[in-house]
């Protein structure tokens, strides 16, 4: 039996339907990441589960109990907010202690509970400070500590790393999995950063236009995206896309050439499709072979990888990415030839954006 279940939940504000008939379930101890671009209703979803907002329709069940009439304070949930939402008039210790005090724990129990979680998050030395005296990173950890303090069975984390600088965000991304596993709670984690999603999740639920477009493991989301929009949301640089039609012989027309992609494509002969290939699946070689000819417009390093902006003779733009430590990075304004592993290619329907085929396993 799943720990938490959402069944046909919808939420509208006046005429704006933010969540449209969504369903999701998570098992105890699972980390489910709710991913989507900003403004798609992820925060609203967490608020519904926490109980501070009511769904317009549908059911939310925790431990098989309908939460419809259960107030937030009775749901045994811990929540960390994007903007921290620390109590400004209480110091860090009291902030973290509030879930423990609300459960009427004795003073020494409260002290121990706060100390334990503060040590875990490495903020035990700033417990006496007021929130305004804390750095952003410390505020974020205090907010997390407060959510974890009462060891809730369900943890709701609303983009907790959003307002924290890049270096700290990276550090926390490495630390969070261990922290969350130690907490042993079921976790619903909201983020707009696909790397965070892939790094933390057991499963990712992609939310777009009020619906879950795909719910799957990070592996499947990346390698077998269900729609064009999912493919675009995961991966930096974004997946290369080109409109084309499948020929009668199962080939596709790309940049003025016919490419044999996969024998099974014959099944969709005559269909208008969108062909997608990820930048890391593109091989770039100096020289004149049988591959696609292109000009390097710009070489832009991207940390451990280097991105090449290429332009084909037909004027189409392509992004390729190579390891930065590679010795064969071409220079700007040089001519190269491009091939791609058809294993990493995707086809999407031109109208609906639905995937016709995924890449490799």
């Amino acid at each position: 039996m799943p720990h938490i279940e959402l069944a046909a939940v919808s939420k509208s504000f006046k005429t704006n339907k933010v969540l449209d008939d969504i369903s999701l379930s998570a098992d105890a101890g699972e980390i489910v990441v709710i991913f989507g671009p900003s403004g798609t209703g992820k925060t609203v979803l967490l608020r519904l589960i926490a109980g501070v907002e009511e769904p317009s329709s549908g059911e939310i069940r925790i431990d098989n109990q309908d939460m419809a009439d259960v107030a937030p304070e009775h749901r045994d949930v811990g929540m960390a907010f994007q903007n921290f939402a620390l109590f400004p008039h209480l110091n860090a210790f009291e902030n973290i202690a509030s879930p423990l005090r609300a459960r009427a724990q004795g003073e020494s129990q409260v002290k121990d509970g706060v100390a334990r979680v503060a040590k875990l998050l490495k903020i035990d030395h700033v417990l006496g400070h007021a929130p305004r005296e804390l750095s952003n990173g410390q505020k974020q950890r205090t907010a997390l500590a407060r959510a974890l303090a009462s060891s809730p069975k369900l943890l709701l984390l609303d983009d907790p790393l959003r307002n924290v600088d890049a270096k700290l965000r990276f550090e926390m991304r490495l630390e969070l999995p261990r922290l969350l596993r130690q907490a042993k709670s079921t976790v619903l984690y909201v983020t707009q950063d696909y790397k965070e999603a892939m790094a933390l999740a057991d499963r990712i639920a992609v939310l777009a236009h009020g619906k879950f477009v795909q719910v799957a493991t990070p592996q499947d989301i990346y390698r077998k995206p269900a729609t064009l929009s999912v493919a675009r949301l995961f991966g930096d640089p974004t997946i290369n896309l080109a409109e084309t039609t499948i020929g009668d012989d199962g080939t596709i027309a790309l940049a003025g050439e016919r490419l044999a992609v996969d024998p099974s494509y014959e099944a969709w002969a005559g269909r208008k499709v969108i062909f997608g290939v990820r930048p890391e699946a593109i091989t770039v070689r100096q020289g004149n072979g049988t591959g696609l000819k292109a000009q390097v417009m710009a070489v832009t390093p991207l940390n451990e990888r280097t991105v090449l902006l290429l332009q084909t003779a037909a004027g189409a733009e392509l992004l390729a990415s190579l390891p930065s430590s590679s010795t064969a990075i071409p220079k700007a304004e040089s001519g190269v030839e491009v091939t791609f592993s058809l294993n990493g290619a995707h086809l999407f329907d031109h109208e609906t954006g639905a995937a016709l085929t995924g890449g490799s396993a």
Binding site: V52, E73, A85, L86, P88, H89, P99
Partner: protein, 285 residues
């Protein structure tokens, strides 16, 4: 970058001094007058040098005015007491009613919410004279004429809108997530209101209360019409100095000084909070 020249600083100083003289002169003059006898006040030409006397104050405090025509009983101290009682009680009631109402307006969306809020504010706009005649009749019918309860009730027209509008702004400024966090931590709605919303809005509540106190204290017309001499505050009580034997300027001045002393002191003490409160929490931490 500090590049004000000495000339600019002198000119600035002179202008500030002029403005201060303009605003503070009346108060200064009244204070002076309160220490002078009627004869000294009415002397021509007026003089700054005189022998100060406490006879005005003693007359007020003891309640007897010795005039050329004989002794007069002055109930000024009683008026002062009424002012304190009416203002304090009105503000207290307005806070008890207004703060939860302000929270409701800030946090909950309900039908006609904005309309109700605006109606309540409109009480401040309307001239009191508009409602006075009907009020007098109602009061008579309800037997509320010349009662403290009646006056406190009517004073809500002055205090309640202020509290509602200032405190509502303060509640709106508190991020709802902070209250959500407290509830999710395991606390009920009431505990959240008491322990989070009210403490965080306290500067606004204090400022609104202070302002309401000052406005209630200064009110003249309600007390004049709806109450008789024994329940009237100082604003009305000052009229008593216009006697048959002439206007007792000295005592009026002393009465004025005693009337404005409490609110002046309060405002000076809490001026920081007033400014903070009236800027409606513009600073986001």
């Amino acid at each position: 970058m500090d590049h004000t020249s000495t000339f600019e600083r002198i000119v600035r100083g002179i202008l500030i001094a002029l403005v201060m003289i303009f605003f503070l002169f009346p108060i200064f003059w009244i204070v002076l007058m309160s220490f002078q006898t009627n004869e000294t006040i009415l002397r021509i030409p007026p003089s700054m040098v005189f022998e100060p006397t406490l006879s005005n104050y003693s007359a007020l405090i003891t309640g007897t005015l010795k005039t050329t025509a004989g002794n007069l009983d002055i109930a000024f101290m009683r008026n002062l007491g009424n002012s304190v009682l009416l203002s304090t009680a009105s503000v207290a009631l307005a806070l008890i009613l207004g703060v939860p109402a302000a929270y409701a307006f800030a946090r909950f969306r309900f039908r006609l919410g904005e309309d109700i809020a605006f109606t309540l504010l409109s009480f401040r706009f309307a001239p009191p004279l508009l409602v006075l005649l009907p009020l007098t009749l109602y009061f008579k019918q309800l037997g509320l004429t010349n009662t403290y309860i009646g006056l406190i009730w009517v004073y809500q027209l002055i205090c309640l809108p202020l509290i509602l509008w200032i405190v509502r702004g303060y509640f709106e400024d508190i991020s709802p997530d902070i209250e959500h966090a407290y509830r999710i931590a395991g606390n009920s709605w009431w505990q959240t209101f008491r322990k989070i919303a009210v403490p965080l809005a306290m500067p606004g509540i204090a400022a609104a209360g202070l302002l309401a106190f000052i406005f209630a204290w200064n009110n003249f017309i309600f007390a004049l019409i709806l109450a008789s001499a024994d329940k009237q505050p100082v604003t009305v009580g000052a009229l008593a100095f216009v006697t048959a034997s002439g206007i007792q300027y000295g005592q009026i001045a002393a009465a004025i000084v005693l009337s404005i002393a409490p609110t002046l002191a309060l405002a000076l003490y809490a001026q920081r909070y007033l400014v903070e409160g009236l800027s409606l929490g513009a600073v986001k931490g």
